[in-house]
Assembly symmetry: C2
Homo-oligomer: 538 residues x 2
């Protein structure tokens, strides 16, 4: 890297002398102060460098609260805050990064060994916390999964959220257990032989509590995202923004011992620069791997059917380890349920499942009726374990109006077929919490906005989003606490058919791990033979 | 290609029976008619296919004028009109595409042999036409250049324009000589052993006379360009837009025997799809080459310092033949003139010239003060003849407020140094008309808008554009005919120092063609050794 604005840590960090370094990027401000609000109110001026980073070192104990004061006027929490105990609008908390780790023997997980279990911290356990997940690690170990994937844990508005409305990418959601809670979970998971993947959002910020615009040119009006202003990854001053998210990734992977990142909607990271942010991030992570000897995995959620993101650098790729592939889900789901509304109109035939197995991208240059354009490129040499597949996940369940799980839509036998298709495929399988025992509770969309106007916008947005599914009846209210409560796992696993289903999943995972014929990950390790519409696939 | 909406010709074409096929893309219209306005007014209904292409076949003689009627209301010229005799707002003209070619022995030009001469048809010759260029072919042959590059000849508003305000990409500017005039020029150039490169604009349309929006979703609001709405290359219905420009490229390269395209500001072609439009275009042109046996060259003007556009497909590239490289100009210009205002603030030292020769991209990942970001990627294996360099061109001359040529800014010796740097480099050299004899006339910015409001917007835009150059004095008025008149070449080549300079250019070009040491185009064919700020380069 040629410029010191890259790899500049921001936030509050204790140095070797036990003092706390505060650093914040605010290139257009004439004056920035740090204001300690608790326990002893006091304001300190910060010094600016050439690239707009302001810093000061103070003798401050952990637990202190602070805000930055911009140009003597605006009081704002730290954009790189680790802890927001009061809310997304309240003061930031100085947190010690010390933690006693026990996972020195853990060196990460290989991509080919991944069996991912996606979970939402708030609704996974009756405790609604990281501690609640720790209490289930034995269960997950017995199930056989090799990695948990946490939906975003960054601080979001209120107490209930999927996580994609996060306003503080560096902070750990306070009512989940905060910084110490997450570190304890990662440590315990590693001791149980389970990797931890974290879902991170680098394409937008939540609508409430995001004050980045007050600090600097974090956003650009050159591009639009479905969620508002696009982050500035390629215009003037973009290095400050890129550094912000690079530091974020390194915080999780290094300081928190996280094994991999699942990056949300990478197609909405608009970057036309010669050095794409994904490539830069991968290079930074490779440097970390070399330094620590620990394997780290980068997975993109992406809707472009473009192998550039996962191709190696010598093929002009960004070299990410893997990508999500929704089309596998759509193909299986639409055949099993018969649904062909909305985006399912591009699927629904056995040939789509056949293509999802053989070519990975169902749309690899052919015309998509739903998208009204030719879509995608071919997968040629990419091994199967560059693609994460699922027949259930948070989106495909929760983005149904009623949050209905596949288990409530199709027969028991169809459900078993879907599980086998996923778990015995040469792809990386991902399960959604509860599917392993046929959970019947829905997974609804829920928020907890303090601002009623915003809650209404969310309600309206959901209605519009589902307009084309032509649903008739009452819409669940995302803001109502019942949407959250109804989505918590029941853990009714003792009785049938749940117990049988659980045993079946255990067996499939065991089969996957032990059966030699299921170990192939290369492009030629599988032959797919379809028989037209006969619903038979060999 | 998997979908018939690709490679669908649009416009008016005579078929084998001598009837005229009219085809137009208007996917959201309920009804489209073609209205013959001359010689015999009559209206004919058109039939629509599944992808929004409307067509009808009529027994119509060349010379007829026509418009399309959209939904029975709007009368609009043909977006793929070949000829707009009255103006960008008038009816389109049916033109025969027959032409008696004499260039059967011409098979195109190799990239390594290019010595390009950029010219503007209106101001190059006293005739202001293609015919005027034909009259100068002997001169150009003696100069030794191997290709002329025509600034855009698409139909623009009024009679005077650089060409980048074109509203009819398929039409040939009427007062230049129209379709027949251009074909005669290409034919004559080929007989003189000179290739013809055409400057085409695929990133925006001019502000006046562009009715594409009435026909269909040609534009998107997902991205912004400096010139208004971005063309829709990657959203729903984009195949109709992509087809439009593919057909345009093929029209020039096939029907008009053009040898190559110089594509304007390719960085403003926003395309995030897996199959980038540049790649698709290259594939279409390769198919044409195979079919015709004639070599075609695609050159991008691009400001991204990203080799992806010119890398081969196996390296994830779009496989264009070459790109313009402004930095070479900026490095040489700023050292010779001492100018370090505006974008020249990133240049001005000998080390920049040194880097421009050795690394091609002066900004290859390092921090640009002017752009306020790290910029560019490294050129590794790309041969030198993938880069077009110049020390003068239409932009670098005409986008100075007073249109001053380098010859009026620096000493005679400095001018000769600049010429040698360009013509003896292993890059593809490009000259700007008149520089070969040290033309003193300026090349100003000029327009001829019918709409006075638009003329005022252009005036204001120029003032703002040059604000940061801190120019003091009167601004030339682009709309005033004197801006055009003053820009016409003087052709004062008989007397010194012009005659000496011309002889010098001839000698340099001759040297380039004959001297073995100057033939290397590979990355290791040249060693560059700088000596700090001593203004010496070996």
């Amino acid at each position: 890297m040629s410029h010191h604005s890259l790899y500049q840590r921001t936030g509050a960090f204790y140095n070797q002398n036990g003092d706390c370094d505060f650093v914040v990027w605010a290139p257009f401000r004439k004056k920035v102060d740090v204001c300690i609000t608790h326990p002893q109110p006091q304001t300190w001026p910060m010094q600016q460098d050439d690239f707009g980073y302001w810093s000061v070192t103070l003798p401050i104990a952990p637990g202190a609260r602070y805000v930055f004061i911009l140009d003597g006027e605006l009081q704002r929490p730290d954009p790189a805050s680790l802890s927001q105990p009061d809310s997304v609008h309240g003061a930031s908390e100085v947190v010690s990064r010390d933690f006693e780790w026990h996972d020195a023997d853990w060196a990460g997980i290989e991509k080919r060994d991944l069996v991912i279990y996606e979970l939402h911290t708030g609704t996974f356990s009756p405790e609604h916390t990281f501690e609640g997940i720790i209490n289930k690690l034995d269960y997950l170990q017995q199930l056989g999964i090799t990695a948990i994937e946490l939906m975003p844990v960054n601080q979001f508005p209120g107490k209930r959220n999927w996580g994609y409305d996060g306003a503080y990418p560096f902070a750990v959601q306070h009512n989940y257990g905060g910084v110490q809670g997450l570190k304890r979970l990662v440590d315990a998971a590693h001791l149980a032989g389970i990797a931890v993947i974290l879902d991170v959002v680098y394409n937008h910020l939540g609508p409430d509590g995001n004050y980045l615009n007050d600090f600097g040119p974090y956003f650009t009006d050159k591009y639009k995202t479905p969620w508002g202003a696009a982050l500035n990854y390629d215009s003037a001053w973009c290095d400050g923004v890129r550094n912000y998210y690079l530091q974020n990734a390194l915080q999780w992977l290094d300081e928190f011992h996280i094994d991999g990142l699942r990056m949300d909607a990478v197609h909405a990271i608009w970057d036309f620069s010669a050095h794409h942010f994904m490539q830069q991030l991968k290079e930074a992570v490779q440097a970390l791997e070399q330094q620590t000897g620990s394997k780290k995995i980068l997975i993109a959620e992406i809707d472009l059917n473009n192998t550039r993101y996962i191709n190696p650098a010598e093929k002009g790729g960004y070299n990410l380890d893997a990508q999500w592939i929704d089309e596998f889900h759509h193909a299986v789901h639409s055949v099993l349920t018969g649904e062909v509304n909305g985006y399912y109109e591009d699927f629904g035939k056995m040939l789509h499942i056949e293509k999802a197995f053989r070519d990975t991208y169902v749309y690899n240059g052919n015309y998509s009726v739903h998208r009204k354009k030719n879509f995608g490129s071919s997968v040629v040499e990419n091994p199967y374990d560059q693609f994460v597949v699922f027949t259930q996940n948070h989106d495909q369940t929760g983005n149904r109006l009623m949050g209905d799980r596949l288990g409530t839509l199709v027969s028991y036998e169809a459900l078993k077929l879907a599980a086998a298709a996923t778990l015995l495929s040469p792809y990386i399988p991902l399960l959604f919490m509860g599917e392993e025992y046929g959970e019947k509770n829905p997974f609804l969309f829920f928020v907890d906005h303090e601002n009623e106007q915003l809650a209404e916008i969310v309600r309206k947005g959901r209605r519009e989003e589902f307009a084309y599914f032509k649903f008739e009846g009452d819409f669940p209210d995302p803001q109502d606490v019942s949407s959250f409560d109804r989505s918590v796992l029941s853990w009714n696993i003792q009785e049938n058919p749940a117990a049988t289903m659980l045993a079946y999943y255990q067996t499939l995972i065991q089969l996957r791990k032990t059966h030699t014929a299921l170990q192939g990950r290369g492009r030629n390790s599988m032959q797919v033979q379809g028989f037209g519409d006969s619903k038979l696939l060999v």
